[in-house]
Structure formats: C-alpha cells, structure tokens
C-alpha cells in the first residue's frame, strides 16, 4: 500500500520537475518618488516563462496590479495587466499569466507591480518559470477569489464581472457542466431503458432533462452563494467606512474632509438666493460633489451661463493665472477661496 502511494506521489510530482528546470530571478526595485516596484529591463520568452511567483510582505490586506510591456507593445496599460488581492504578512502568490491575460506574448521586456490600496509592499523573492500543475492550480484558485467580480469599482454601476477562472467567466464552466450532465445522463438512461421506438427515446430524454435542471439549480445556488459572499465583503468595507457616523462625517468620507470643509464654507458665504458658480481645482471631478452639496446654487455649465462666483480649491497654476484681477469674496486659506467673477 505504501509502495503504491509512493508511486502515486512520484507520478504526481513528475510534472513539477519542470519548475526546477529554469527559474529566472527578477530583482524588483522601488522607483524613487513612485509607489510602484519595477523590474530591470530584460528579454524573457513568454512561451517558456508563463508563471510569475512572488513572495510579498504586505503591511495591509489590499489590492495590487501587475503590468508588463512586450517587444510588440511598449506601453504599460490596463489591458496588459493582472489584478490581484494581497494579504497582510508574508505570502507567496502564483500568477499563471497567459491563462488570465492573452497579451502575455512575444518577448517580455519589463514588469511593474503597482499597489492599489494604502500600505507597504515589499518583494522578498520573485521568479518567472514555466510553472507546474501545482502553481497552475494555485494561480486559478487565486484568480477565482481575486478582485475581478468581487471588488467594487466606479464602473460596477454598469456591469458586474463574474468571477473568472483561467481567464474565462465561471458561468462558462457551469454551462459545460450542465451540458455534460445532460449528455452523460442521457447516455446512462438510454442504456438503461434500451428504447425500441422513437417515442421511447423520450423517456431517457426527459430523465436527462431533469438531471440538467438539477445541475442548473445546483450551479445557480452556488453562484448565488458566491454573490452573497461578495455582498458580505462589501458590507464589511462600508461598515468600516460609514457605520455609526453622522451625515457630515459620511460626506467627509465620500468627498474628502478638506473639500467638505470648503463646501460648507462656500455654502455659508454665498448669497441666499441661487447664484451660478464654477469650481477651479486640481482635484478630480470637483464639480460633482459641489453641484449636489451647493444646490440650489447652480453649476454654471448646466445652464450655459458665465458664473457669478468661482470656487477655488487647490487650483492649478494655469487656473491661478486666469483668476488674476478678480476680487476675492471670502478666503478660507491660501488654496481655498471664493472669487467673484464672470469667467468660465
């Protein structure tokens, strides 16, 4: 019995030997002044090196993204990237890249690992290799439980990705499962019933259809439980962020505390009757929260008018130039003030 087990283990480990054949170390370096970690310039054959193994030491649970450039396309961009969760502490992550992204092709010239959540990431070891079935399984497992289909982004309002497995939607595997359940059960009932006329073929067909419906129900219930798990994760995020806070504190979380203070200052200083305004700022989409918070004051671009007031919040140098000569209505500090004006 022990001999049999030993043979079995040996057979299972044979495919893993390839992993020891050729492993290329990649010494990632932190780029000065940037959050991301970058590999040196290199020439790696993507066919021979499909699996990236990363031993990371992370200060928090979070998200990170691996980018690469190839000999064909020398731009770091989202289409040539893989998104993955990172766990607090020291953990090893296996990324079988071509199974998750079709753009791992040609010669790979450089890699970048970019953290996408607060905290520190340290790379203790990193290699690329051909990988083996164990790393392939580990990669699939990580991918399925990864952020795609689970983490909420600004675009989730339009589309929710399904959890992927080796680059395919998990739904596809369930379609195959249901189809195979139907076929196998049809063959089984066919042999069992041994029909002689056409009408008798309906008996195994109906039985197979019932099996398929059972498979559908089981698959869907699993997907529903998977969705419940995602709701629970989102619940934890929102609970930490918003629960037990006043509406003011919630707005501060949503808009940023600094910006909320400025909006409240503005609401206090602007005239009572609705006036039109624009926002000059270097922050992203400042007018979105401004329009909602300051209503019924009117965002000038909504009604195609010149603004009565310009709200200035950390302006760009170009915006500062445009503001020259206009009288200041009220000032919160050097970077936050209201200007009277008719400029767009």
């Amino acid at each position: 019995m022990n001999f049999r087990r030993a043979i079995l283990i040996l057979l299972l480990t044979i495919p893993c030997f390839s992993a020891f054949a050729e492993e290329i170390n990649i010494p990632f370096q932190k780029t000065p002044g940037q959050d991301y970690l970058e590999s040196p310039a290199m020439m790696i054959d993507s066919l021979e090196n499909s699996t990236l193994s990363l031993k990371l030491n992370c200060s928090n649970d979070g998200l990170a993204r691996l980018y690469w450039i190839t000999s064909y396309d020398q731009r770091f961009e989202q289409s040539k990237s893989i998104w993955f969760y990172t766990k607090r502490g020291v953990h090893t992550y296996y990324l079988n890249i071509p199974s998750q992204n079709p753009y791992w092709i040609g010669w790979i010239k450089r890699l970048i690992i970019a953290p996408e959540s607060p905290g520190k990431i340290e790379i203790l070891a990193s290699t690329v290799s051909r990988g083996n079935w164990l790393t392939f399984l580990a990669s699939g497992w990580q991918e399925f439980w990864g952020p795609k289909g689970r983490a909420q982004t600004g675009f989730s309002i339009n589309v929710t990705h399904s959890s992927p497995l080796y680059g395919n939607s998990i739904n596809v595997y369930f379609y195959w499962l249901i189809g195979l359940a139907f076929i196998f059960s049809f063959v089984f009932y066919l042999f069992k019933a041994r029909p002689k006329s056409f009408e008798e073929y309906l008996i195994p067909f109906n039985s197979a259809a019932k099996t398929a419906f059972a498979a559908i129900l089981a698959s869907w219930l699993l997907l529903a439980l998977n969705a419940d798990l995602n709701y629970f994760s989102l619940f934890k995020v929102n609970y930490q962020k918003y629960f037990g806070k006043t509406i003011d504190q919630k707005h501060a979380e949503a808009y940023g505390e600094d910006y909320l203070t400025f909006l409240k200052f503005t609401a206090d200083k602007l005239p009572r009757k609705p006036v039109s305004f624009v926002v000059y700022s270097s922050i992203n989409s400042p007018e979105l929260a401004g329009r909602l918070f300051l209503a019924p004051h009117i965002l000038a671009s909504d009604v195609n008018k010149l603004p009565d007031y310009i709200l200035v919040f950390y302006p760009t140098p170009d915006q500062i130039k445009q503001l020259r000569g206009l009288p200041v209505l009220a000032k919160l500090d050097a970077n936050k003030y209201i200007v009277k004006g008719k400029k767009k």
Binding site: G149, Q152, G154, F155, S156, I157, N158, V159, T160, H161, S162, S163, N168, S169, N171, V172, F174, Y175, I178, A209, K210, A212, F213, I216, L217, S219, W220, L221, L223, A224, A227, D228, N230, Y231, F232, L234, F235, N238, Y239, K241, Y242, F243, I247, K250, H251, A254, P274, L288, A289, R291, L292, A295, P296, I298, L299, D302, V303, N304
Partner: protein, 482 residues
C-alpha cells in the same frame, strides 16, 4: 426622532397605496403582496401628485404635499368603505387572507427556513447599503440627487437648472427623495435612499406571492432567493439611480399582466396598468416598455379573450391617465418623439443638422446585426449580472416549447423577446452602439425585465417539475396547478 420622521415619510405613501389598493382589489390577497403593491402604487401616485402640483405653480413643502395627500387617502378610503370593498368580504376570503398573512411562519421545513434567512439577509444588506452611505455614484449625484435637493430647497420642480440636468428624464425618483427630505426637515442623502430598498423588497414580495399562487412554498422561495442573486439589481437597490425603480415597476407590471392572462381576475390587469403607468414617470424607457406590453395585451385580447376588450381599453386608459402629467409634458420622451416625426414630415421644416462637408469625418456605418447579437450575448451570458438566467431561459424555451406555445405563456415569451429586440434596436445606431460595446448602458436596460424573465422561467420549471405532485394543498385536498 429621525427614525420616527423616516417612518412617517414611508407611511404616508404606503397609506395612500393601501387606500388605492383597497379600491382596486376587492378580494383578499396576501398581506405581503398588498403591502408591496401599496408601496409601489402609493409612492408613484404621490410623485405624480407632487409633479402635478408643481405644474399648477404650488410650492412643494411638507404641508402643501401632506394636506392634499391626506385628503386623497380619506376620499379613497371613504369610497371603499361606502362600496363595501375588500374590508367587508365574505368569510372564505377572510380565511384566505389570514392564511396568506400568516403563511410564512407556519410549518416551515429546514430548507425553507434557510432560504428565508438568506433572503432576509440580502434584504437587510440592501437596506444597510442604501442607508449607511451618502449618494456617491456619478449619475445619482449629478442628476437625481441634485434635482431632489433643488426640489427640497426651492419647492419647485422645473427650475432652470433642474430642467437642464433632467433633460428628457422623468421626475419620480427625485420627487420621492425630496419627499423624504421634506419629512425629515433637512437634507440627508443617505436616508433619502430608503425608497430604493423598499422598492427592492416590494419587488421580492410580489415576485414570491405571485409565484406562490402557482407553486409550492419551497419552490417559490428557491426562485425568490435566486432573484436576490443578481449583483446589479442588489447594487442598484442601494444607490439612487432610477434603474431599480424602473425594474420594480416594469417587472411587477409584467408579472401582473401574465397573471391576468392566466387567472382573468380584473384587479391583476388594473394593477399591471397602474404599475406600467407609474413606470412611465420613472425613466424614459418606461414609455416604450409600456408600449410593448400594450401590443402584447392587444394580441392576447384579439386571439384569446376578445370579450375582455373593454377591460383592456380601461387598463390602457388607466395607465395613460396616471402618466398623463408626464407623457404630455414638453420634456417627455413621447413628446420629443412625436415632435421629431412631425418635424421630419413637415416639408418646410428647417433642419438643425449641420451640412456634411468634405472636411467632416463620415459617421461610422450602422453596426451589423451579428455584431449587435455578439456583444449583447456576451453581456447576457458571461457576466455575473444575470448569473445563468439567460442560459436557463433558452433551455426552458426549447424544452418547454410545447407548453409555452399551447398556453398563455407564449404571451410572456413574446414580451421578453420583443424587449430584447427593442434593446438590439436601441443599440443599432452608431451613436448608441458604443454603449453596448463598452457596457455602460446595456445591462441597466436589460435589468428592467430580469425579474420577469426569472418569473417566466420559474413558472415553466415548477409546472414541469410538479407534474406528479400537488402545488397547493387546501384543507387536505390537492389542487393541481394546471
């Protein structure tokens, strides 16, 4: 105090809805279904009342909205009482009513208990998600949230900015949010979103109760749980977009319409009409969705139940009357559509379109049907939004083809396919095709009929599976579904 004010804000439309349903539904239905219907109808009628008041130049504030609403509630209840409506129905109905109301806690098996817990947890999550965070999603901040705040602070709907921000979009969502702010006495965009989880919960209850009328409790619960498995619907139940409201009004309307095809009880047809009518006041898409259902109703009346044509006309009039303040207003989709046709038909009409010169790049050609179907198919089958619903719909349509085409279910099938065809048509122009490819709009458009598609599949699956077993047991007797 805030909780009491919030409860008051919810109770007023609920009472309005209850008084309207007491007039509409003269027989006993499950309490959960009546309450859900009352919420949907009450909220819609209140929004339309507020909009009509604003058209008449009446400023919208708590007192001005509350007084006529209480008046309407009083009138409806008096009329119902005077005409001996459902509140004074025969004893058998009373027993059924109690059975419907007390049904859930009695004799549950473990699977049913588990399903109720899972459904309950999802409902709790949706309320949490809506109420814990302020409005943070783009459109909800940019359009509905801003208009709601303008209505609350100025007492007017059609201010210059509100009109500019709303464009051709109807006002039920911002009016409903503004009503919550009026009741609270201050602007709280987190609490203002309470209407959306209530719409979601009402949708679940209506779905369950209508399905329960045709199948066993366990099966109805399984499919209700599956209805909570669509992430996009759950996400939209916690934000202030109008899509969840549209899904609620359209799907509930379609479920009632299909129920009327089966059961021929007039209140089902009129409930459907009212929900479709209110749906016209939620999003622009309400009008074409309603139009499609009217076509299917007309076909049904022509081939199956010509004697009911008068009721069909009454339902059409009811929906039109409810949505009239909006559909005939200059901003509405219908008004714009008719105006554009009139402009095109008029030989002397000037055109605003710039003349195409050699220097302007040509518009891309209309996308091919195969491309449209490919992209739509990807959205339907490989994303988590609808899980495996569309696959199941195809399987059910193929395996249950005979059942569908020999019963009233074919009209449900036609309605679903017609809506899909409408989506393909909507994305067939070069201007809208991009929204199909990038996925910014298509799934939200598809969402409106998802609960109805699931309901349709559930009926066929449970009918087929219940061939050899009773669906409903009454006092030891077995009642067949078919």
């Amino acid at each position: 105090m805030t909780i009491i004010k919030l409860l008051f804000a919810v109770l007023v439309p609920l009472l309005l809805g209850f008084s309207a349903t007491s007039l509409l539904i003269r027989e006993k239905i499950a309490f959960l279904e009546r309450a859900s219907l009352a919420w949907g109808i009450g909220l819609g009628l209140m929004g339309i009342e507020m909009y009509t008041m604003s058209l008449l130049g009446i400023s919208l504030n708590l007192r001005n909205v509350l007084v006529p609403t209480i008046g309407i509630i009083g009138l409806l209840l008096s009329y119902s009482f005077y005409h001996r409506n459902s509140l004074s129905s025969p004893a058998e109905n009373q027993r059924q009513y109690r059975r419907g109301f007390l049904e859930l806690p009695q004799g549950l098996n473990n699977a049913e208990k588990l399903l109720i817990i899972l459904i309950g947890l999802t409902i709790a999550y949706v309320f949490f998600d809506a109420l814990v965070k302020p409005t943070v999603e783009f459109d909800a901040m940019w359009r509905q949230g801003t208009i709601a705040k303008i209505i609350f602070t100025t007492g007017q709907v059609a201010t210059e900015q509100a009109k500019a921000v709303a464009g051709p979009h109807p006002y039920l969502n911002p009016l409903a949010q503004a009503w919550i702010y009026m009741s609270l006495g201050y602007w709280d965009d987190a609490l203002g979103k309470v209407i959306f989880p209530l719409c979601f919960t009402s949708m679940l209850f209506i779905f369950y109760c209508r399905l329960r009328a045709q199948t066993s409790r366990l099966k109805a619960l399984i499919f209700t749980y599956l209805l909570t498995s669509f992430p996009l619907i759950i996400l939209h139940s916690g934000n202030a977009y109008s899509d969840l409201m549209q899904t609620f009004y359209y799907s509930a309307g379609a479920i009632y319409l299909l129920s009327w095809f089966k059961e021929n009880k007039t209140h089902l047809l009129f409930s459907s009409a009212i929900l479709f009518g209110i749906g016209n006041f939620v999003k622009q898409s309400g009008i074409p969705l309603w139009g499609m259902s009217v076509v299917v109703l007309a076909i049904f009346l022509l081939f199956e139940r010509p004697k009911e044509s008068w009721n069909g006309l009454k339902s059409l009039g009811l929906a039109a009357m409810i949505s009239a303040p909006w559909i005939f207003s200059p901003n509405s989709f219908l008004y714009g559509f008719i105006s554009s046709i009139a402009t095109r038909l008029s030989p002397s009409a000037p055109t605003n379109a710039p003349l195409v010169s050699g220097g302007i790049a040509a518009q891309p050609a209309n996308p091919a049907l195969a491309d449209l179907v490919y992209h739509l198919g990807r959205r339907m089958f490989t994303y988590a939004d609808w899980q495996i619903l569309w696959f199941v719909f195809i399987v059910v349509s193929v395996l249950g083809a005979k059942l569908i085409w020999q019963s009233y279910l074919k009209y449900g099938f036609i309605l679903i396919v017609a809506n899909l065809a409408m989506i393909i048509y909507a994305f067939s122009s070069p201007g809208t095709y991009q929204y199909l490819v990038d996925g910014t709009l298509v799934n939200r458009l598809m969402m409106y009929q998802i609960p109805f598609v699931l309901y349709f599949c559930a009926i066929i699956i449970t009918l087929d599976a219940s061939k050899d077993e009773p669906a409903v047991k009454i006092k030891g007797k077995k009642k067949r579904v078919r």
